[in-house]
């Protein structure tokens, strides 16, 4: 945080009266207050935290999501045009402005619904319980649209958000008390409640169904999952990689949930989280390693094309990276202890790829894996703490 603050302070004279960017002062002012108020910082003593509070943490995470959001909007617009033209070979970078606007037209309502419903419920509960509005929903409200397919009906998003905020969070006592990640609860709810709108090959591009007959808007993961059945979409792995190259998957020029496709955008977000110290490197790194290890294990067994898919592909396709960076690191639902975080992340990645590959009914294993590890996190912490106590007792005895 200190690092960011220094940059902002350096910029301040430019915005002051007579400075080069005087006109922009209100914008600068609103940003700095959003990010740096309250400015109370401990001056001396044994405290090691700076004045970072819930609001600043939340705003930082939202900033980290901006690259994913922008790329997601563009990508959504691109695939909508692909669906309209019925041609997957459309140039990705051509006609950029129109694509961005088309994407915005799809994504913006999702964000509005998610924030509108979520904040209304938070407000009602705040009113009933007599406390002010918590900032906890700021991040969840942005995460929910990012993990939705482009074509999901708005009312479903509203229902899922309400379910996630009430059942996932308020029932346990509100912000900071939830067991499950709120955004993932919303997605899991939709996945089980309205499977036809959350999976299959009709939902990933806005308006697929109505536009061209015989055109499938399937995702990389959806196509891969067909390798587990009798009728795969592609003949072999080579045909698959010709269609979705590793390069495409890393850049994110593939259909998928709005914010999850681009590994590059996600890694930019991860960098922001790590520099500001908001996200946990232990969880992110061990999550990726866990997924990679499971990929290697599956490669070793082999047998069909999905099992043989090179392990590094797994890290770039689907919601794996997005889950690792923005979902698994949720400080409330993740493990709290340092060792616990490594175990939590590693097992999360491991299970995510396991479910993804071996259960073709749930191609998006990341969601289920993280929710499962959310539930397991307290147990992991318990044993880590117990182990620590035992080790220390031993030391006392031998001394």
């Amino acid at each position: 945080m200190k690092f960011l603050e220094n940059i902002v302070h350096k910029m301040e004279p430019k915005f002051a009266k007579g400075g080069k960017l005087e006109k922009w002062h209100p914008m600068f002012e609103s940003f700095t207050t959003l990010a740096f108020t309250p400015a109370i910082v401990t001056q001396k003593g044994a405290h090691i935290r700076d004045g970072v509070d819930l609001k600043r943490t939340m705003i930082t995470v939202i900033m980290a999501m901006v690259p994913c959001l922008l790329f997601g909007i563009y990508n959504t617009g691109h695939w909508e045009m692909v669906a309209a033209a019925g041609d997957r070979g459309l140039d990705f970078w051509a006609n950029g402005g129109a694509k961005f606007m088309a994407g915005l037209w799809v994504v913006l309502p999702l964000i509005v619904v998610s924030y509108g419903v979520g904040l209304t419920i938070e407000f009602i509960f705040g009113f009933l319980r007599g406390h002010s509005l918590h900032e906890g929903f700021l991040v969840s409200g942005m995460l929910i649209p990012l993990v939705m397919p482009a074509d999901v009906p708005l009312w479903m998003v509203g229902v899922a958000t309400a379910f996630a905020v009430i059942i996932g969070k308020e029932i346990f006592g509100g912000t900071g008390m939830n067991i499950l990640n709120v955004a993932l609860t919303a997605r899991a709810f939709l996945f089980f409640a309205y499977p036809t709108s959350m999976s299959g090959d009709k939902v990933w591009m806005a308006g697929t169904e109505s536009k061209v007959d015989g055109f499938t808007g399937s995702t990389a993961l959806g196509d891969l999952a067909t390798f587990m059945s009798d009728k795969p979409v592609f003949e072999n792995l080579e045909a698959y990689t010709n269609n979705y190259s590793f390069f495409d998957s890393v850049w994110g020029m593939i259909p998928g949930s709005i914010g999850e496709t681009s590994l590059i955008a996600i890694l930019i977000g991860a960098l922001i989280l790590l520099i500001t110290g908001v996200g946990s490197l232990r969880i992110m790194a061990s999550f990726f390693i866990g997924g990679y290890v499971m990929g290697l294990i599956l490669n070793a067994f082999g047998g069909n094309e999905f099992l043989d898919l090179p392990a590094h592909f797994h890290l770039a396709i689907g919601g794996f990276a997005f889950g690792a960076v923005f979902m698994a690191t949720d400080p409330v639902t993740a493990s709290q202890t340092a060792t616990g975080k490594i175990i939590y992340g590693f097992l999360g990645g491991l299970i995510a790829i396991l479910i993804r590959v071996l259960n073709p009914a749930y191609p998006e294993g990341v969601m289920l894996a993280i929710l499962f590890m959310n539930v397991m996190a307290p147990i992991i912490d318990h044993y880590v703490v117990q182990g620590n106590i035992k080790r220390r007792l031993k030391r006392v005895k031998t001394a």
Binding site: P153, W155, M156, V159, I167, I171, F189, F192, A193, Y194, P195, T196, S197
Partner: protein
């Protein structure tokens, strides 16, 4: 047999005295067998997909509980305490077999849907719990009142859960299409409404029961354990 002596001495109370009424009304609200004692959850989760199943299951349990409580109460002084569980099991098993046969004969469709859960009434904790906790120590009439209270409390909750699950899961209520025809796509479905598949899955029953418990406890703070 000191119990018998006490029974004989006790003054005759009216059939619907305050105490007896309380036996019926308590399990309906603040001592509900499902939401407060958390008994009989298993069947409450399994067979609440449709209201009809809930009604039949609630009726079956009510029937078994009333007659069982009556018989156990009548026999309470004859049952040696060391083998009382076995005697109770024989009574409940006999009653459940009657219920099962009746359902098979007159409501074969529902009987098929309920499948094993009718037989599992034998192991329903509410029934054994009422036998042990009430019928073994009380006279027949209060035992019947207790059975009515608990049976209706159980059935009521089953039906309440089933109403939510059937309405949002299948769009019907007791088989009657409320939101229009799903397959033809008219009514609400024409506007893009879709049935909630999660309502049909057992986890949602657990969540609904949980929400009912939550609402009940926030309305009556004395039910919240202090810890």
């Amino acid at each position: 047999m000191s119990e018998v002596a006490q029974d004989a001495k006790a003054p005759r109370e009216p059939l619907f005295s305050k105490k007896n009424k309380k036996l019926v009304t308590d399990p309906l609200t603040d001592n509900n067998p499902v939401t407060i004692q958390v008994l009989g959850i298993c069947s409450a989760l399994a067979i609440t997909v449709q209201v009809e199943q809930g009604v039949v299951m609630g009726g079956a349990v009510l029937f078994v509980l009333i007659l069982g409580n009556l018989f156990i109460s009548l026999m309470r002084n004859l049952i040696p305490s060391r083998i009382r569980i076995i005697v109770q099991l024989v009574v409940v098993a006999a009653l459940v077999i009657i219920v099962n046969e009746v359902l098979k004969a007159f409501l074969p469709d529902v009987s098929e849907k309920l499948s094993v859960f009718v037989g599992l009434i034998i192991t329903n904790c509410i029934i054994m719990g009422r036998f042990e906790a009430f019928a073994m120590a009380n006279k027949p009439w209060p035992s019947i009142m207790d059975a009515v209270g608990n049976g209706v409390g159980y059935a009521g909750l089953l039906i309440l859960v089933a109403v939510f699950r059937e309405l949002f899961g299948s769009g019907t209520l007791y088989g009657y299409p409320v939101f229009g025809d799903y397959i033809q796509g008219n009514g609400l479905y024409a506007l893009g409404y879709v049935n909630n598949n999660m309502m049909i899955l057992p986890p949602m029953a657990l969540i609904i029961v949980g929400v009912i418990i939550w609402v009940q406890r926030s309305r009556n703070k004395s039910l919240v354990e202090s810890n």
